[in-house]
Every structure is written in C-alpha cells, then in structure tokens.
Symmetry: D2
Subunit: 345 residues, 4 copies
C-alpha cells in the first residue's frame, strides 16, 4: 500500500482526497493535517467520511509527515504550498501539489499573477500534472503540479486541435461556468448560500489567475505563443465546470474529423470521453467522477468551432486528477481507484 | 383603466403578466384564457396570485375577448399565435404578442426557422417590441411583437456599439446562460427538477431559433448584415439570463468611452442600468424586475471587448417588457407598474 | 412622509427593509447605518436596491439619527439592540426592534436563553409586534418588539385554536423548515453555499431560542402555561419557513370548523390566508410577500390535527412585519406598501 | 458472477441500480428493459452510466429475461409489478421487487390503499426487504419486497425503541422531508424544476401510501397495533429523505441509553450509523451511499424523544437496499459493492 499524507485536509480538495483514497485499492492515508481540527478524528469532523474514525487531524509537522508517508498531497493555498513543498522534496518524498505554486514554468509570469516565488528552483523540475499530456514525465517526477480546475477543462479539448493545426491559435475564447465548490471552503460573503443561490455572474473577467496557466499549455501545443480570452462565471450548483470554447477553424474540416482528432489524441486516456456529433456534455454526467467529457459543433454560418467540456472540478479538476497522478508516479494503472460511476441524478 | 385580456394565461409568461398587471395603477385584467383551467378561478389555480379570486379562466373565445377587452396579450406558443392574432387585429384591438410569430420581418427567415407563416401580411406591420430601440414605432403600433428572452439580453448591450461603430460587426459571440423558466411550464423530461438541478449544459448550439432574431436587430444597428455565434445554456436556477458577449473593437477606445456610449444611448431608457468600470451584473440584482443590467471590460491582451448583460427572463425577457410596451402604446409613462425593486436575496 | 432610519442596514433584514420601504407610498428611509459600508451609497453596495444612489450608509450615530428620523428600525443582533434602543426611546422616537431583545416579557426567561438584560425596564413597555394579535397595543406603543421568524409561523395558526379550546394545549409539536436567509448574512461555515445546497438537517433540536418566544404567546392564548416541542431545520432554499404543527383535538370537530375558526379569528387580518380543505400552503406561494398561509387536516386515525403554515421569513418573518407595525403605529392602513404579489415561480 | 436483469431500467431507481451494479465485484447486469429506449444502448441514453455501451435496453420479454438472468430486479410501478413478478417466480428466478406490490402482508390493507391485488398468493411468501430487521428471512426468500423510501427512514430508528419498550407505541409522529427524485422520472407538473425550486410543501398529509407500510412494521416491533401520524414534504434537493420523529418515552431513560439501545440493536448492521449525543444527521453526509444515519435527543421539558434519520432515498431508500438484499440472498457479504463514501459536498 502506498502511504500517503494530505497536508491541508479540511478544505474541499482535502476532503475529496480523503473520499477518493478511502476506496483506493493500493493507497491509504496515514496522516492528514489541519490546524483547525488538529486532535479531532476525520470521521467526527466530517461524518460523510466513513471509516476514518481512527485517523486524527494533526498539526502540519513536516518531520512527522516525512517519516510516516512516502507520498504527499499538498492541498493548501498557494504561497503556503511553496514554503512547505521543498521541505518534503528535501526529505526525499514525492509530492503532488494541488496549489498554483508550481504550475507556471516561468517565474516572472508567476510573480506577475501571484507574488514573489520563494522556491523558484523547483519551477523547472516540477511537472505539470495533466496526465493526458504529460503522462510520461509525471511517471518520473518528484514534484507534480496538479493543474487548476479551469485549465483542466480548457486545455484538454484544445490541445489536440492546436497540435494538429485544425484551429487557429489566435482568437480563442473560453467561457467557463463553475459551481461554488471551486471557491473553496473558507469563509467569504460571496460564497454564502444566499449570495450564490438563484444568482449568476461573471467574475475576474479577463484577469483570472488561471488564464496564464491555460495560455502556457496552449502555447506548448501550438508551438507558438497563444493568448486567449477567458471569462469565469459562478453558477448556483456545488460541483462542476462547463467550459464553452470558441475557436476559428484553420482549414476546411468536417465535425467528424474534429471529433476523431480529439478522440485519437486521447485514445489511451481513460477519462476523456468524446461525445458523438450532435451530443453535448452536461455536468450531470460527470459529477463525482474523473471524466472530462467533450462535445463539439461547427457553426458554419460564422465558421466557428464550438467546443464544450465538462468536468467535476473537485475530481478531474483537483483531487481525482491528483490521485491519477499518484497512480502514474507509482507505476500503477492510471485509473486505479477512480473508476467510479458519476452520481446522476 | 386599460382593459386587458391575456390569451394563454397558464404558462409562466401568462402567470407573470397576471402578477405584474395586478399592481398596475392604470390597467387591469378583465379576461384570461386557459383551456386547461377553464372554469376555475385564477386565485384557486395559482394561490400566489392574490386578489384574483373572482377572475375565472375561460376558453379562448375571440369574440368574447374582443368585446371585453381593448388590449390583448397573446402568451401562446408560436404557430398558435399567428392563427389568433389576426382575429384580434381585425376586431380593432391592439395586440402585444409574446410569441415568436411576428418578430422576424423576413418571411423566408421565419419559415426557415419555424414553419409556414399563415399571416405573412402582418410581418410588415408588426413592430419589434424592444422599447429601448423602437419606442416611437411602438407607440402607434397595432401589433407589437414582444422580443424573445435571449434576444433582449443580447441586443440591448450590442446595439449602441454597433450603431456607433465602436465594435466590429463580424465575429460577435453571445454565450447565454438561462434559468429553467425560459423553457416554459409544459411537461418535458429535460425540465424536471432532477434533470436540471446540479446540471449545466449547452443546448441547440448554433441552431437556436433566437439567433436569427438577434441577427436581424444587430444588422439594423450595424447597417449591414451581421451574423453571430450564439450558444444558449441551461443553468440550475429559476429566473434569469446572463449573456456574456465577445466582440472585437473596431478602433482604439477606452472602457470608459464604451460605457459612456451605452449609457448615452439609453439615457432615456429607465430600465437599462450600466455598471461602472470594474463592476459586473449578477442575476441576483435583477430578479423580479424589468431591468437590463450591463457591464463591460476590455481584455487588452486579446483586444476583445467583453460585455455582460443580466435580465430576468420572465420580466424584461417577456411579461415585463410586454407591459412596458402596453404603457408606451397607451401613452402612459413607460415604467408604470414596473418600478419594482429586485427580490434579493 | 414618515421619516424612518434603519440601524443595521447591511444584513438581510436591513436590505429587505430598504427594498420594501422604497416603494412605500407614505414612508421613506432618511438614514441607514452600517459600520462596514459607512461612506458608500446603498445603490453601490447593493445594486439590487434601485433608486438608493444618493443614500449613504453611515456610522450608527444616535444623535444624528434622532434628529433625522422619527421612526427607527433596529436590525442589529440581540444584545446590540438593547444597548441602542433605549437611547432612541429617550430621544422620543418610536422604535421597531427586529432583534430578540424585547420579545420576552419575562426577564428571567430572557436571561436564561440569551444573556443579562441591560434594559429590563423596557420589557414591560415593549409590545410584541404580531399585528394579528396585538394590533391595538401596537398602535400606541413606543417600542415594538418585532417577532422572530419561526414564532410568526408557529403562533399565527395556533392562537385561534388554543383561544377557542379546539386543541389541547399540551403535546403540541412544531416542526419548522427554514431557508438559509434565516441564518443571516454574517460569515459562517454552516451557511456557505456548498454546505447548505443538497443538504438538509435539524439543528438546535429542542433548544432553539425561539421556543420560549412561541411558548410565551401560546400561553397567553391558552390562558395557561403551554410548552411545546420545537425542531427547526435548515433547507436548501433562500427564503421561506414552512411549519408543520401537530396538535391533539380537545373535542370532536370537523376540519371545516377548524378552518372557519382560524378564518374568523383573522377576518380583519389582510395577510392571513386560510386555504380550503384539502389544499396546503407552499413557500412557492408566499415568496416576497407578507402573507402567512395556513392549511389544515385532521388525521382521524390518530386524532391529530396537522396544521401547515408558510411565510417568507424575510418579509412576514421580519421586515414586512416590521413595516406592517410601522403602518399601525403611524395610523396608516396596515397593508400599505405591502400589497405585493408573491414572486412565483 | 451473479447474472442480474433489471425490469424497468429507465426510471431513477433503475438508473441507480445500473450505477451501483456496475462496480459490484460479484454481480453484473445482463439485461435491462425499457419500452421507451428499447434498442438503444444504456451508455447512449444515459452518458453518466460509463461502461454500458454494449448493453442495449430491450422490451420486457419475460421468457428472454428468464433465460438470461438468475436474479431479477423489478423497478416498475406498482400494479405493473404484480403482473410480471409471478412469471419470474414461476420460472424459478429470485426476485427483488422495488414496487409496493408485495410490501403489505395484509391483502385488504393493500387493496384499501392501492387497488385489487392480482397475485395475492405471493403476499405471504414475500419477505419485507429491510435487511436490518429481516436479514435471516431474506437470505432464503425467493421474492423480496424492497421497502419504500419513507418507510426505510422511519422504521429503522423506531424498531429498536418499540421493541425494547423505551417509547410509547401510541402518539408517534413522523415528519419526513424528501428530495424530488422520490417522485420519479415520469412527467408531472409538480416535479418541474421551476415548481420545486425555492418551494417547500407538505403533501398527501395523513394519506400517503407509505403510512400503512410503516405501521405494519412498527406493529411487528411493538407486538401490538401501532398507528402513526405521517406527513411527507417535498424539498428542493435531488436526493435524500430526512425524517424527524416524535415519540413519548415510556419510562425515565437517558439519551445515552436510547442511543445505546439503537446502536446495540444494529451492531451487525454495517449501514446504520448512530450519531453521538448532540450530533444530528444531515442529508449531506449520506448522499450517494447506503447509510441510514440516526441522531436523537430528549426534550425534557415536554418529555418527548426526537429522532432524526437521514438516508439517500435512491440508495438506502431503493436501489442500494435492493443490492444489499441481493447480497444477502446470494450469500455474499451484505455490504459488497455498497461500501462507497458519500459524495460531500
């Protein structure tokens, strides 16, 4: 059994890691930290997490964790992550970091969008943890930077089409709609039930921190710098990100060819499901699962390709993807412990 | 008091007309039809509609309605509307039609997207009932074609910018997110609670019937044919349409100038509220009201203008707008009976 | 025009007072306080509150408020209320307090459930602001203690039946289900969207502070001490309290008689709506309105009367009722400014 | 592998059976019927049901099913069930029926609440499929009548207390709150999204068909006839039933003793979780799982025991319980394939 520890176990991604790992046949959680709940059992704090009655939340003690576990999931906010991750690396552990701290390869970009980076030497070594693209590098990485939720939903459908030159690399628009769990479990007026329910809004229009992360990966795929227009929205639901993407076709192509190109690119990726022509994803079909569903249509009268992707932001957009990375790093089958059926309805 | 009748009073737009007109100081509802509920009182069928205990639903009898009322709201599905509207016109009544049947001026376009038109002679005479644009024509119209919900949210923010040439008329994308009431009150699997709740999807991608309606009005504003990419989405909430619009700037301009252009264009329109720079609409702020809220931002790194509009689809997107049209047609103040405060939270 | 001021204008009851009073034909808001938003305009902070662009939130300065206004709504938490209310009373103003501080006539009861009372001399003078019961006293009161939301929904259906001896005063059970707005707008983990949505729970079982308030009023109606079992629940919706009440019949009686007894008791109360036999209230039918809807059924096989009441907790359960009290205190028609139609759907 | 077939696979309980059985290590679905979707693959109709691309919906052909499968789940409406179940029994198959047709042992009771029974000879043979009570009988049954959703949530917490005489068998009240999936997937106005969302109502007050089913089992436990007051409510959420139960204590007892009595009774029941004193269940903690969570408190001032239970109506209230029954009937471990972790948030 892989002995894993979760640093920051009381946020939604931490809870979700606990949920997923509980049923993992080859990994278990030997330690989980939470300053807030230290000393209390996981099962007591979160009655949904059945079977964790004997696991106590502890203070985040690197030395204790390094002795107990071989694998670390850091599910703490950015900035906190970059201060603790290097310590685990130094101790020889392998780390999957769910924060944004090691996702951007370019230090200046990171510092433009976040703050000064205190562990810049890791930026080169960290592997961007999108298994569908970087599977091989992930296998050998000591530090995997688990992608952001919005980037996961935007990058997966676009990479095959940029890579193959089917779409124009300029003028791409990603209009994303996220459930409220993406905002996390910390207190804020904007995520109170009564402020989200029956509301709907765009936020951080053209200035969300996930934008440079998306652009970084699209640029790799296109082989040249790609800039996009990115608008996140907050939707009254708990889980899920639906991303509607608009791109211009670089050449005359049928929708069948577009779908085949995506399908072919991901033929060895068990979590990417490409819908047949005329069918489109729905958050409904992915909730609780690690799938990334994709549908597409060509609007002939404007020559625009419309792509739609759906993920569960807490699973494929965070903790499920982290476990997928764990599997790859440990040489296990990629989908181990992740072959759940979406909860629908 | 204006004597109005509602033909088709048991759908959401009919109920909403009853709600709004109940408090209208200069109009009342003298008849309301519903085959389903004929013989039952409005207050009995819809306990929310306080004060309607003495008004009974009746069968749709044109001759009776024509004698009882001077003003007709037709809130029946398209196709049904075009068979009944001409009869009221012939009887000399003035009609506000909430269906799609008289919105498209071009018969061929109508027949491409709907079916054969049985009252084509009215297409020229009908006035498109968007008061913010056609206020003067509406005042004298015998037949007003009340706009669709999606078109209302897309046309209002775009017209001033196309009219002034601030944005390029090509490449406009409208990504709309609607609450479930837009699908109406008829039975369908797709609008069951459990099929909508915690789901989110795009539908009728690039083939929704509101697309030609939007294009018709944008073409008028631009003075040349405009085609757009339009993607409607179904969101788990009851009321509201948020439309996120992407357009390319035709010339170097500040966001301040963009906002002023919209504000100036609508300076006599009491229901258009333009948000200051940096602020964006939320369905939360318009629910139950006739407002169309607008916010905008320029994404400098892609040279894209992002516009966001929010309306309550049942009010500004349907019944509120219909009453606004009634006011104008009757020579009353445009906002009479519509100066409610949004219900928030 | 009545010049009113709202102390504590940034919580949900404060916002709701602003919403309701905006359309009140005989009252307006001349001042509103909020430490948090002092210096900002109401319209800027709450874009839903149309028409308040010129009203600024201020610090709560009693002397300024006392000069500006004649009527005070205190919408601050308990404890804060009892420190400020006496100052307004001393300045000769009339006060409607929405907190719990003056609802319990018995000081010891108050101190058992809350904390030491710092203005006990007002407990006798304050009138319990349930207009349906205390209309006459309210008219002359200087201080009205606006009832709690749960008590409003529980007391109104029960008083006529206890008063007439139709039901047994012992063994009454009130099972209440509230939307999340009842928990207020302050930050707490339990009212985050993702903690409420798709959840449902009982809380403060048999120990909620509204219990003694309900018992106080039922005891008055029964003419002897009444104790009840009271269980509040949190439901994933924004507004509304549905209370299901179980009581034993004291004598053989038909459901028709029960309904008539309630109806008769409230024949001069415009906001109490008694449903016909077989029909039951739904939050759906009262949202945004000041109604208290009531339905009833006798379960013959257990000889139990089941009563169901529905209110909008922010309107009849708080701010609407406060305005109703204002109307009565000012000698205006009780329903002035409150004759809205529920927003449905 | 157990070869199972699902008759009626397109309703919510059928879909849920497909979901649960997909991951069952010792059972699989060899056939599933649906008149509506016959000829279409399960994966095509329900994209959430991953891995079912090769399984086609078929017409309900008893002879074909009897040859293909050894185990039958009937997930069709009552009345339809009693016409088809005997045919499978005659063919020697073992059947778990999710309808109400075989739950009531007394034919007259069945016919009072439903309609004439066409297979009354099975009423005696069928075993009521609540494993926590009838585990031993289920093991050998050919026909198991899977309990109703409301009964499951009401019976489990009450049986130990009636059995031990801790509570009085008279005067029990069960106030249940159900999510909308309990109403099924068939079309009805009352389950449209806009009719459920932001609404809340009691329905079938004291006349719901699950009442005699609850009373039947409580009577067995008490050893004498028990009648209860039962009020179901519809709550705006998809899954879950929270039942708040009020009972009078038959003797002086501590809450600790009450909780121990329940815990002890279910010590071999892996899905019953009894909460510690002061803690209460939340639908939040059981969603997607087969748990029945129970909490309790004694209201000393009225001498009332308040019990709260929470289940996922589609799992423990239907399909999960059916699979639990399958496991027991097949001699497998009771929790096989059901040891999921609730999806939270």
């Amino acid at each position: 059994m892989l002995r894993t520890a979760i640093v920051g176990g009381s946020g939604y991604t931490g809870i979700e890691l606990l949920r997923i790992l509980k049923l993992h046949p080859r990994a278990n959680v030997v330690a989980v930290t939470s300053r807030k709940y230290a000393g209390h059992s996981v099962g007591e704090v979160f009655p949904s997490l059945h079977g964790y009655n004997d696991l106590l939340f502890t203070e985040p003690d690197v030395s204790y964790l390094s002795k107990s576990a071989e694998w670390i999931f850091t599910a703490v906010p950015h900035k906190a992550a970059m201060s603790v991750v290097p310590q685990f690396l130094d101790a020889g552990l392998r780390v999957i970091d769910l924060s944004a701290d090691f996702r951007l390869r370019d230090r200046r970009t990171y510092e433009t969008w976040y703050q000064a980076h205190t562990a810049p030497e890791q930026l080169d070594k960290a592997v961007y943890g999108l298994p569908e693209i970087y599977r091989k590098d992930i296998a050998h990485a000591q530090l995997v930077a688990n992608p952001g939720c919005y980037p996961t939903g935007a990058i997966i459908p676009l990479v095959p089409l940029l890579h193959s030159g089917i779409i124009n690399s300029q003028g791409i628009i990603a209009d994303s709609k996220s459930g409220a769990s993406g905002a996390g479990r910390s207190l804020s007026l904007g995520t109170l039930y009564c402020e989200v329910n029956e509301g709907l809004k765009a936020y951080k229009v053209a200035e969300h921190r996930h934008m440079p992360e998306i652009e970084q990966e699209l640029s790799v795929a296109a082989g040249k710098p790609v800039v996009i227009t990115f608008t996140p929205h907050l939707v009254p639901m708990t889980r899920g990100i639906l991303t509607t993407i608009y791109a211009r076709l670089a050449r005359e192509v049928s929708i069948g060819k577009v779908l085949v190109a995506i399908k072919e690119f991901y033929k060895d990726s068990p979590f990417v499901r490409v819908f047949p022509e005329g069918a489109f994803p729905d958050i409904f079909y992915v909730r609780g699962s690690n799938f990334c569903d994709i549908g597409a249509k060509i609007d002939r009268h404007t020559n625009t390709l419309v792509l739609v992707s759906a993920i569960d932001n807490l699973v494929k957009g965070a903790s499920g993807q982290a476990v997928q990375n764990l599997n790859i790093m440990a040489g296990l089958e990629e989908s181990l412990g992740l072959d759940t059926i979406p909860l629908c309805p």
